[in-house]
């Protein structure tokens, strides 16, 4: 019992909420680019929030269910279909053995999450099922899915088949928004006043060099008045670092644990979903907020998630 891949799509990987606790050994965190979508998908199925799902990128896969299953699709809208019939996102959907899931055009965002009841049966590596592509570790054989892969389920679903509710979409951000909020990075003060002004007043675009590790941006080049080489120190998901030629790079889920480039700013956790769903070519403008505001936004999101979880628990009865 599981799914069989007919076409892998552009990049389909198994991801949970990430591999924590080993960054001191240089082990990359990985995990879903859009953990909000992943967690809502798990919630819809009554799974543990951190359960692994299939992260599908831009051009989704085509796959067959080799057993009846309860699924949910969340995140960016890649026009999912079951046997050619549009599938409603953000709700539990019962699919029959032999059903074919496929995707069409990306109408919003670029990453979608296929969650299944109780998750996929893949081994944990250092406590996580996430795929770390460059390291060839975790997930399904440490790599993106290929044609003819068979990914087994953890459990068989035996509950109700009909669901007349959907949930969670309301706390998902509007993906057409191009404004990404940041707080000051540790080396913010190393940049010239002109560069700081440009950073917040002029848009950047996501270049074609954009993957799970990071997005290289195009736009205004940023200058420092402090030109000393920096000693390597920790970087994280959302860190915006500026190499010597002045073009910023935003670090994403497969970010290295430490880096040596000045960190001008840090995308707030609550806006990582927005960033994760942006494709190459998209414009971004950065807006500066305070750490207190960023933490308040995250706390509010966490409270909404808790409410959603209670609502869903009641629906399952």
């Amino acid at each position: 019992m599981g799914i069989r891949i007919l076409k892998p799509g552009l990049l389909s990987t198994v991801q949970d909420t990430g591999r924590y606790g080993h960054q001191k050994s240089g082990m990359v965190v990985s995990g879903a680019m859009d953990t909000l979508a992943l967690k809502i998908g798990n919630m819809l199925l009554g799974n543990a929030l951190a359960e692994a799902a299939l992260e599908c990128t831009l051009s989704g896969p085509e796959l067959i269910f080799e057993r009846d299953q309860l699924i949910a699709i969340t995140g960016g809208n890649l026009s999912p279909q079951i046997d050619g019939v549009p599938l409603t996102m953000w709700k539990p959907v019962y699919v029959r053995e032999g059903a074919k899931l496929s995707f069409g055009k990306a109408t919003s965002g670029c990453r979608t999450y296929l969650s299944v009841y109780r998750g996929f049966d893949v081994p944990e590596v250092l406590g996580s099922k996430s795929t770390y592509l460059r390291g060839g570790m975790g997930g399904w054989e440490g790599r993106a899915l290929k044609k003819d892969d068979f990914i087994p389920f953890n459990a068989i679903y035996q509950g109700q088949h009909k669901f007349d509710w959907s949930a969670g979409k309301y706390l998902y951000p509007d993906l057409s928004n191009h404004k990404v909020r940041v707080i000051e990075g540790p080396e913010f003060g190393h940049f010239t006043a002109e560069s700081i002004a440009a950073f917040f007043s002029q848009p950047f675009a996501i270049s074609n060099e954009a993957d799970r590790m990071g997005y290289r941006l195009t736009g205004q080049t940023l200058q420092r008045h402090e030109t000393k080489e920096m000693l390597s120190a920790a970087v994280t998901f959302g860190t915006i670092q500026v190499p010597a030629q002045g073009v910023p790079i935003v670090l994403m889920a497969d970010h290295q644990t430490t880096g040596g480039y000045p960190r001008i700013a840090q995308v707030i956790s609550a806006d990582l979903t927005l960033l994760a769903q942006m494709q190459p070519g998209r414009e971004i403008t950065f807006e500066l907020i305070t750490l207190e505001e960023a933490q308040a936004l995250l706390l509010a999101q966490e409270q909404q998630m808790n409410q959603l979880r209670q609502t869903i628990t009641l629906k399952y009865g």
């Binding site: 240089g26 570790m137 970087v235 880096g259």
Partner: protein, 250 residues
Amino acid sequence: MFAFLQATSNHMQMSNITDPNIVQYYPLGDAAIVLQFGDEISKDINAMILNVAAWLDEYTFEGFVEYVPAFTSITIYYEPWVVRYSEVLSMLKEMIEDMEENENPEPPGTVTIPVYYGGASGPDLNHVADFHQMSVDEVIAMHTQPEYLVYMIGFAPGFPYLGGMDERLATPRQESPRAKVPKGSVGIAGSQTGVYPLETPGGWQVIGQTPLELFDLSKEEPALLRAGQKIRFSPITEEEFLKIKADHGH
């Protein structure tokens, strides 16, 4: 909630006390705090950082996720919906003020890392030699002479940041990182030298390559090196490089 604070007084037999005034605290985003101890690479600062790490190993706090030691800093990740920055900050300040230096554990032995310098394995060896107006052999001799200290592991799984490189080899990073640097590459960036454990993008000047595996998940402890370890580089020929690689089945 912060039970570990009460536990500090009977911890660690003491000599030197960390001067709380040299520690700077600042956020890295909304889910991490950095403790920075000056801006120079030093064995004393490394010892202080490893003390903070050892202390966190023993007395965790609610909302604690993990820590990442670096040359002059230690970054502590936390869950901001469990504990706020201001709370973590005051906890850590109290910890530093109460902190006394740990007895250093027995230092691990010296690990020898064989390196094939130059050729296709070291595309920037000539650049480094030209930059310093030295011969390639002088660069190799200068790079293999010292005993290096592993200050931190970071950037990629098992990647050691080493102290002890001869300052005369210091070379700026490449202006734009390479998209792919092969596994085992040995490089220089500024006054740092290190080894890439797996293929990854990077901006270091690559001078050679080791056939050893620095991160191997089939081993119980995947990272070959850890902070506090000493290493030495030893030059090998291309034939020796290929033989060691073949013997290890990679």
